[in-house]
């Protein structure tokens, strides 16, 4: 059987690669995982390992530009050697998670397995959040098939090849990296092509918590699912070892807005009322896990202060039109706060640090994370080296990142590596809160709403726009003196923004 090796999906934004060099020649006998050639994308160079042992037949020459999913070469597998996907259930067979290694059936039609690509170092599973295409649809190369949600980001999965789609992973199901999402029947008749190895899917998902019985419906559950026309594969089992219980089946619903075949059952489910259960998205699970971990693992406490916002507001009122005209971006409060934070961080470096084992890591730069409420939950993109940015530079970064956050388009890079976080509960009307540190950072600034309050200035009661500030910090490395002084310094800078200019 010949294995067709295709250009793997190597990254979200990469649509084509160039064959740089072949390490092997036509007709060479290659071993499994042996590097066949080097591929170059506009971002990086990477090696293509052999997916099977056998005789190499080169299809794409050096210098050829190939789209993702195009055939690079074929490997004529020996009689005894099996292809990657046909590999038996031997637990030793580590499924190479590297990229979406498409496996293919021999014959006039080939079946391309669409697998979850490796999207980041720390990401082990993704949640399918919605198919743009359904089983039986004809898809074009690079057409977006579905959205995948990891605990950090949402990304789109383009078709690696044109063909007929068969959806395997239903929306909401959690699939490990390398797990089977769909199959694309390339060429030939539309009729169900012979599946190379039905056993391959469970094997591929042999992650730590995988179980041979996962997804096995109980007898009653099987009947209910059949009647609802829902495949057991699309239901997450809550029973022992991932088994599908009767309750799972009762609460399962068809992914698409198909008319309920069994209306009485659906009505019954709704009529129960009272509670509703939803599976937590992986983003939500991660947020939950991290927040609890921070609470448990740090010595977190919060200090407060208040800022008279009149000077900043006056300045803003005076220049906002000109600012917009010149920089093409509005002058908000965020840039003042970010700038002030950068100045204060320079003076109190322990607030801009993190703990690594027995050591404290101080950052000479200020990568400021900004908490943004995205449709799927809280995300925290980073303004890089904010200390070097002008107010306009900061504003345009904020606009860019917040926009991407709302569209679930933030990349992992854009969300990792911050050194300090600013969160603004004020946009929702919060007067005062105690934010939780964004680990491994050690401090977070909470902004709040601006309220006109009666304050005493020079012995007179006057009305001023006041914002309460909260700084939650990890007392393990930040002492009270530093945290309080940091906040007081912020207050100073914001109440007299000229200091930002003069650096005093």
């Amino acid at each position: 059987m010949a294995i067709e090796m295709k250009v793997p999906a190597v990254g979200e934004s990469i649509t084509e690669v160039t064959v740089a060099t072949w390490n092997k020649k036509e007709g060479d006998h290659v071993k499994l995982d042996e590097v066949l050639c080097e591929l170059e994308s506009d971002k990086a160079t990477f090696e293509l390992p052999a997916e099977a042992e056998g005789i190499l037949h080169i299809v794409a020459k050096e210098g050829d530009v190939l789209p993702i999913g195009a055939i690079i070469c074929t490997i004529e597998a020996g009689s005894a050697t099996a292809s990657v996907t046909v590999a038996d259930a031997a637990p030793a067979a580590t499924p190479a998670p590297a990229a979406a290694a498409p496996a293919v059936a021999a014959g006039p039609t080939s079946v391309l397995e669409v697998k979850v690509p490796a999207v980041g170092e720390s990401i082990s599973e993704v949640t399918g959040s919605g198919w743009n295409k359904k089983t039986g649809d004809v898809v074009a190369l690079d057409e977006v098939l579905c959205e995948l949600e990891s605990d950090k980001a949402t990304f789109e999965l383009p078709a690696e090849s044109a063909g007929v789609l068969e959806v395997i992973a239903q929306p909401g199901s959690v699939v490990p990296i390398g797990g089977l999402l769909a199959k694309i029947t390339v060429g030939g008749s539309v009729a169900a092509a012979p599946v190379v190895a039905p056993a391959a899917a469970p094997v591929a998902s042999a992650s730590a918590d995988a179980n041979y019985a996962a997804g096995h419906p109980s007898p009653a559950a099987a009947k209910i699912l059949d009647e609802k026309g829902i495949s057991a594969a699309s239901v997450a089992g809550s029973g022992v070892g991932g088994r599908i219980t009767k309750e799972d089946a009762l609460s399962a619903s068809k992914p698409a807005a198909a008319p309920a075949a069994s209306a009485p059952a659906a009505v019954a489910a709704v009529a129960q009322g009272g509670t509703r259960r939803e599976k937590m998205s992986s983003l939500r699970k991660t947020v939950a896990r991290r927040l609890v971990a921070v609470k448990n693992e740090t010595a977190m406490l919060t200090t407060f202060n208040e800022v008279d916002m009149k000077p900043v507001m006056d300045l803003r009122g005076k220049y906002k039109d000109k600012f917009k005209e010149k920089h093409g971006v509005g002058l908000g409060f965020m840039s003042f706060f970010t700038k002030a934070v950068c100045v204060a961080l320079k003076e109190y470096p322990s607030v801009n640090a993190k703990i690594d084992g027995d050591e404290i890591v101080f950052h000479d730069y200020c990568d400021i994370s900004i908490a943004v409420s995205a449709p799927k939950g809280l995300v925290v993109p980073v303004i890089r080296s904010a200390e070097n940015l002008s107010l306009a530079g900061i504003e345009s970064e904020v606009v860019r990142l917040a926009g991407k956050a709302r569209e679930n388009k933030l990349t992992l890079d854009e969300m990792s590596g911050g050194t300090f976080t600013i969160t603004n509960g004020g946009v929702f009307g919060s007067m005062l809160s105690t934010p939780i540190i964004n680990a491994p950072q050690v401090a977070i600034l909470g902004m709040h709403n601006i309220v006109e309050r009666a304050v005493v200035v020079d012995g007179q009661i006057v009305v001023r726009p006041i914002m309460y500030l909260a700084l939650s910090y990890d007392h393990r490395i930040i002492d009270g003196r530093e945290s309080v002084s940091f906040l007081v310094r912020l207050k100073q800078l914001l109440e007299d923004p000229a200091r930002l200019l003069l650096d005093i």
């Binding site: 041979y212 019985a213 096995h216 109980s218 007898p219 009947k223 022992v240 088994r243």
Partner: protein
Amino acid sequence: MQEFDVIVIGSGPGGYVSAIRSAQLGFKVAIVEKYAVMGGTCLNVGCIPSKALLDSSEHYHNAVHSFQEHGIEIAKPKVNLDQMIKRKAGVVSNLNAGIAYLMKKNKITSFHGLGSFDSAKTVKITKEDGSSEVISGKNIVIATGSKPTILPFIPVDKERIITSTEALKMKEIPKHLIVIGAGVIGAELGSVYARLGSKVSFVEFADSMIPTMDKTMGKELQKSIAKLGADFYLSHKVTSAAVKGKEVTVKAQDAAGKEVEIKGDYCLVCIGRRPYTDGLNLAAAGLTADERGRIAVDEHTLQTSVPGIYAIGDVVRGAMLAHKAEEEGTLVAEVIAGQKPHINYNLIPGVVYTWPEVASVGKTEQELKAAGIAYKEGSFPFKALGRAIASMDVDGLAKVLADATTDEILGVHIIGARAADMIAEAVVAMEYRASAEDVARMSHAHPTYTEALKEACLAATSKRAIHA
């Protein structure tokens, strides 16, 4: 003409269950039964009466052989075969009445007479008095069951050469009963008379008793029945049987072609059963039976080639078991109601009600070998089981076959006291795809026979039975 939503032909365990389930689902249901009483083979001349006699003979056997050991001294017990048969008849009529009551309770209209197709939508009922009536049904369920297979060269006279039906109403205890066929029915009825004092000789074409079950079961069962003084002619092919006065002579050839001649006073022929559709007039409905007499049905819906006509139980493919027919009866009723039920045929247990009982579910060892599936085996003998020792029922063992990689239970085979009841646990476990270790980690009450299954699961998990 009376019209029904569902007409069920045959009132055996498949038919009457299908009728009740149909009625539960709101259908107007009729049931047609050829005989005067309901219940079919199972209740009248099968499972139930044979179990009644098996229990009676077991009591007798215990009275003769183990009471003394138990410390019970009684005068030498005597078999009153008439009373045994009478009690059995009482059990049967009790249950006949039960089914009649259930029909009434579920508002099912019962027709007594030979049901036959008049068309694909109508059934003609010919009553004993010769009168007939035609009823129509939107759906018709064929549940006419099976009859004992008769070989052309064995002249069954129902006097000396008999079938299971006659064996359940014997007038005397045979001195030497020759049983042709050592399958489930032969083993059960043969052991009834062996316990009552008959000399029993089994003549079997295959090389073991109950040859379709796991090999270990046949071997162990033979050991137990041999203790009753039975003789075995395994791998023997019967060539003739003849009656001369009160003597039956059975001739058979062994594997090498050497002929043996066995003489007895009765010969019980239990070589299997054939689907029974005689007089059903399938042609009128546009149906035909296959070469083995079965009616072809859709794998999932049990609908025949004619829409609206379904067939269940012994007349269709699969094991001829009452509980399989019951599941199919339920399934068909639900299919007619638009539901999508499913039967896991791999998990229909098979049971032999000898003593010790044999019960089995899932794959046999020979099936796993043939399929090339890597498996682990764990066994536990009843003689190491506290409860079995206390009850003096130490024959037998529990055997668990589990997947070599996943530890999922693939087959459970038990021979021993109460195996028939114990197998239910294995069915539950396997429906949920439990591993051997799963069952091994579940608490089993002590002292019970079910501990044998737990221990066998421990053994299958990693050879770590506690009491072995």
